[in-house]
């Protein structure tokens, strides 16, 4: 993976004013945000965080039991958050983490109260509006003991963007018996370069479910979130749905470390190259027993491009149970003909199979978000067959 020249992007001087009512945003920006799962009316959401370029412009929690702050405010309020900040991601990992450490623009701090089960998702959007803007954000999510939270975070870029860089640090803390569902929808452009750096820890009995959806073109994206299951009975699952059209370079994967007894990890990725290049990674490390991990990495090449699947398993103790299945291929003719024999034409049959393959259903998303994703899939299918 080649490096990005950060000097070509503006990492200062793009700080917009606060926007009290997000409905005041311009229509095209709203559309782009909606495509990444963010509803500006805030309907069916427990709160909203919106960052445009270098500044937070909107931050509001609507439900008791969940706190949403600009990370800069949170650092002030909580004395720098030493127990959390930079504990899951190494500040000196690379030039992108260093950039985020040296010149922080914002990001969200979301924390539940102990025992609070937040009914509706909290939404956030990290938006790149200006041309050739570089954005450094740092997000921290803390789900306290016995609480539950779903975060839908959309990362998006203004329509017609000539270029932008998003560098995002995210650190997750799922405490004892807590549950975090984290759904990230990336809606970039052909010119956007993206370097998320993500780490997290799950304590005893905690559950971390991560959904990742990337259906739109992106110039160059590299991410490899890593979750450590450090408490007995902790569970992590990653579901990823990735489409790489012509011009996209997507190097992405997920890592789960099974560090405690009775932990379980599952990584399921579905990738489609329709002209672009995908490197689909996955790593499960089994360092304690009993522990189970399964990695499933399936790719289709439809209309050009390449997929390089790199599933990795590492067991370091007796009795660990790790498995993987990986496949890169095409749609079976037999499946298409089966559906055609029920009256679907070839395109309908192919589309039905592709949707089944991508299997967004398992993410358990709210209906309106699923509808948005479905329509994006319909659009991207035009490049596939």
């Amino acid at each position: 993976m080649k490096n990005i020249d950060l000097n070509t992007f503006a990492f200062s001087g793009r700080a917009m004013d606060e926007i009290a009512d997000l409905r005041a945003l311009d229509a095209q920006d709203k559309t782009e945000m909606l495509m990444s799962g963010v509803d500006v009316t805030g309907k069916g959401r427990s709160g909203t965080y919106l960052q445009i370029d270098h500044r937070k412009v909107h931050c509001q929690a609507k439900t008791p039991g969940v706190e949403i702050l600009d990370i800069k405010d949170a650092l002030k309020k909580y004395g720098g958050l030493p127990e959390y900040m930079w504990t899951q991601v190494d500040k000196d990992k690379d030039e992108y983490t260093r950039s985020a450490a040296e010149n922080l623009h914002g990001g969200y701090f979301i924390r539940t109260e102990k025992g609070a089960k937040i009914p509706d998702p909290v939404q956030s959007c990290l938006f790149l509006k200006s041309d050739m803007v570089g954005q450094n954000v740092h997000n921290i999510v803390i789900v306290e003991e016995d609480s539950e939270l779903h975060i839908i975070t959309g990362c998006s870029v203004a329509h017609g963007s000539k270029g932008a860089a998003h560098l995002g640090i995210s650190e997750f803390f799922v405490k004892k018996n807590a549950k975090l569902t984290f759904t990230m929808i990336h809606n970039w452009a052909e010119t956007t370069v993206v370097r998320p750096r993500t780490g997290g820890v799950v304590e005893e009995g905690g559950v971390f479910l991560n959904n990742y959806v990337l259906l739109k073109p992106v110039k160059d994206l590299q991410s490899y979130p890593s979750i450590s299951l450090n408490g007995r009975g902790a569970v992590a699952r990653f579901n990823s749905v990735i489409v790489a059209p012509q011009g996209s370079l997507v190097d992405t994967g997920s890592k789960i470390m099974l560090n405690a007894p009775e932990t379980r990890g599952e990584i399921i990725s579905r990738t489609i190259a329709s002209g672009g290049r995908i490197i689909a990674r996955g790593f499960i490390g089994g360092n304690n027993v009993p522990a189970k991990g399964h990695l499933e990495c399936k790719g289709l090449i439809l209309g050009g491009g390449s997929i390089h699947a790199v599933p990795e398993l590492e067991g370091t103790v007796d009795g660990v149970e790790l498995s993987h299945e990986a496949a890169v291929g095409k749609i079976a003719q037999e499946e298409i003909e089966y559906l055609m024999s029920r009256g679907m034409d070839e395109d309908e049959a192919t589309s039905t199979i592709v949707r089944g393959f991508l299997n967004v259903d398992i993410m358990g998303l709210p209906d309106e978000l699923k509808a948005v994703i479905d329509s994006t899939i319909s659009e991207t299918e035009k490049d596939m067959f």
Binding site: E335, Y338, L339, M340, S341, R342, E346, G356
Partner: protein, 252 residues
């Protein structure tokens, strides 16, 4: 309903069907017997229009239309429905969704139909994923019921099915062929029968299916030829006693 004339089919370089002639009329059920490898499945796959089956000679007409080279979905839309012996699993495609799509735009009472073939618990499962032999048959029947074809192609309805399932499957096949109507005060049984005209072409080895349906005619396929037209029950008796050896004599 269906007319096949001098049909020659190749798979690769090998000629598997060597001049098949067959007519199936409206509401008629035709039973196809024959040893393994004689070309029965090839015949059904060719009628449905699958790739890999090269029609090198002959013609297939269905309800007045020449479908010799029509794509699969056109045949399905014209009213040919097929029950597969080993259908593929399609991950992420729920049985419910597929059954709905079988209606080809018509509203389908998926739950009602599923209850009739004991498939309610399978509607939210991926189609054919981990289905047993009997479950595959019931799932195929469920799709056919939603599809409401004029001609049902059935490849070995009894294979891989236990006795308990056999009755359910046999009864369902009968209803599919004869319609499920009951006589009403204002509609006679005769009228109900006249309304639905489903024909059947069924491959069977064991003949168990004949205990459940009224089969009109039967023939034996042997080495790519059709021979020995007779009452299906008689053919079955004959094969039971003498095997398929007699076919050889008959053809030579």
């Amino acid at each position: 309903m269906l007319k096949v004339e001098d049909l020659h089919v190749k798979i690769g370089d090998k000629e598997v069907l060597k001049g098949i002639n067959l007519s199936i009329g409206e509401s008629e059920t035709f039973i196809l017997f024959g040893p393994n490898g004689s070309g029965k499945t090839t015949f059904l796959m060719t009628l449905m229009g699958f790739g890999n089956y090269d029609i090198v000679q002959g013609r297939i007409t269905f309800r007045g239309e020449d479908i010799t080279h029509a794509p699969i979905y056109e045949r399905a839309r014209l009213g040919i429905g097929m029950s597969f012996q080993r259908p593929p699993t399609i991950h992420g495609l729920k049985t419910r969704h597929l059954v709905q799509m079988c209606g080809q735009g018509r509203e389908v009472d998926v739950d009602g139909l599923a209850a009739r073939v004991n498939m309610t618990d399978f509607l939210e499962r991926d189609i054919n994923s981990g289905f047993s032999g009997g479950e595959i048959k019931r799932s195929e029947l469920l799709q056919l019921m939603a599809q409401e074809p004029y001609l049902v192609l059935f490849d070995e309805p009894e294979s891989g099915v236990d006795l308990e399932n056999m009755k359910l499957i046999g009864d369902t096949v009968r209803k599919l062929l004869t319609g499920n109507g009951m006589p009403q005060p204002d509609v006679s049984m005769k009228e109900i029968k006249a309304r639905r005209q489903t024909s059947g072409l069924i491959i069977t080895h064991t003949g168990y299916i004949l205990d459940y349906i009224r089969a009109d005619r039967g023939q034996v396929m042997y080495d790519g030829h059709l021979c020995c037209e007779a009452n299906p029950g008689e053919i079955l008796d004959h094969i039971g006693k003498y095997g398929y050896q007699e076919c050889l004599r008959c053809l030579s």
